[in-house]
Symmetry: C2
Subunit: 328 residues, 2 copies
Amino acid sequence: MKLAIIGSYGHLPVVLEGLKQAPDVQLVAAARWGQDDSMGFVGTAAPADLPVHDDYRAMLDEVRPDLAAVFVPFYRLAEAAMAAAESGCQIFMEKPLATTLEDLARLRAAVDRAGVQVAACLTCRGDAAFRTIRQAVLAGRIGRCIYAAAQKSYPFNVRDEFYRTRQTYGGTISWIGIHAIDYIHYCTGQDYRRVAAIASNQAHPSRPGMEDQGGLLLELSGGGAVVINFDYLRPWGKHKRPWGDDRLRIAGTEGIIETKDSASAVELMTPDATETLPLAPAVNIFADFAAALAGGTQPLLTTEESFRATEIALKARQAQDSGRFVEL
Amino acid sequence: MKLAIIGSYGHLPVVLEGLKQAPDVQLVAAARWGQDDSMGFVGTAAPADLPVHDDYRAMLDEVRPDLAAVFVPFYRLAEAAMAAAESGCQIFMEKPLATTLEDLARLRAAVDRAGVQVAACLTCRGDAAFRTIRQAVLAGRIGRCIYAAAQKSYPFNVRDEFYRTRQTYGGTISWIGIHAIDYIHYCTGQDYRRVAAIASNQAHPSRPGMEDQGGLLLELSGGGAVVINFDYLRPWGKHKRPWGDDRLRIAGTEGIIETKDSASAVELMTPDATETLPLAPAVNIFADFAAALAGGTQPLLTTEESFRATEIALKARQAQDSGRFVEL
């Protein structure tokens, strides 16, 4: 498969790292998302002679890639992915798939017309901790999942200019809350019925459209409550600590399973024991997607799930704005 | 001060333990809340010759105590506390103060008419971890509090019959969620603006009115989000572990502080360091209330706060039932 990269923003390193495990994929071209695109990976993680285009549409027409990796600023993701779909590309892209429900519907239509697959870069699915939890849940270790609590916490640190407004950033629910929305679904196997949300910017006036903390309250499709808290308040400075502090706790009818120490370990509690589980191997979700395309198998994250996670995040944002539960 | 005990349900041991540190208080009488009341403390934690009455109203008339400790099943708390107030007693009582907003208003009026003080048995305020967090927050260690996440988790284990229905039990928000509502207020110094809630019984059909898990989403009075998750799903059996797993994490503009290991430790994160704080000494909140009455000082938990925590819990239950945010 010929791979073309559109934009070098965000989690493109997931693709560049995954390429090492994707023998069927050849990186053949890249295109800047705009004049500001550094394309810093060319000459470091990719050969210095990689053809780099200024216009991704022209690149798609010229190169005709089989697979596009779309990593542009969030408000332009849907537009670039639609162009890739219209060119017949399979698509691996930054999440969220779109920053408005209207753009999401347009992308969905384009993807359906083209008959291509889309995988959002919801990296947590590939993390050892969440894979371990999913395996334990599937093995019945905690019975039926009936309740979950999750956290996403990051430092504010330095943020790009386009995080300044809702219009260009999309909101913190769709940028970081979406991971928890997705990994709870991934680990429990359940969808959601409804959502309420509160989020605001309290301490970072340089990026007024960027909520620096918030919470989600959701109902699982099987019944039961989910709470998610997310923030950009993780202290950052001379004391070195992991970038993020992801957490997940799922209670079932027979036990409780949860991450420990910023998702570096997983603990299972049952009436008989408290045990630290051996971690499942981590998976690079780009390599997984490429392998699934090559083998005709199902990827770790399906097209449906990529759209659904984005839809839920954008409806949660509606709930935040309206102060009401939104049905899912 | 003469103390009379009304009922031996719930957290009465907090009073019996606190008496050892309350030299101004003499336990002079007790009354059963009903025929089923075991009064097991008489002859063990209290003298075997303690006068025990069958009717608390008659006991109040006869003994004229200065202070009443009210520990009856939840749906009868307001009624018994009203009788104590009308008798002119200061009141230390099980939480919630009432299981309906109507009863809460009636109790409020009785307390105001009598000019007495009421302290709810919100024990977490006296716990070392929450006192440590409050002290650190008051000392400015995390800046302005703008976000919190809390957990209350208990085993279902064995529950009394009156937990079966909402009418007699009151609901899990008002029985265990109320602690987190209160200790977030205690630690942040902030009130709340609005609340949404989801809770249900998923796995304990023997007590259909007793929600076995749920979540609250609140907005702090100063802005910022709070999520609380609570459950009765903590595994309980031959593996011994602490009864509860209380948690609290507060983020401020300058750092994050949180409990570790079922609130047996407190960790503070700032840009410069991650440190485990020395724990403040625990306080018995009954002994504290008695000392405040004797000294004319402010107790750890005021009458206003006792009523407010109950009001918020009951309004959160309204939010649960209506599927809407309720203003606070």
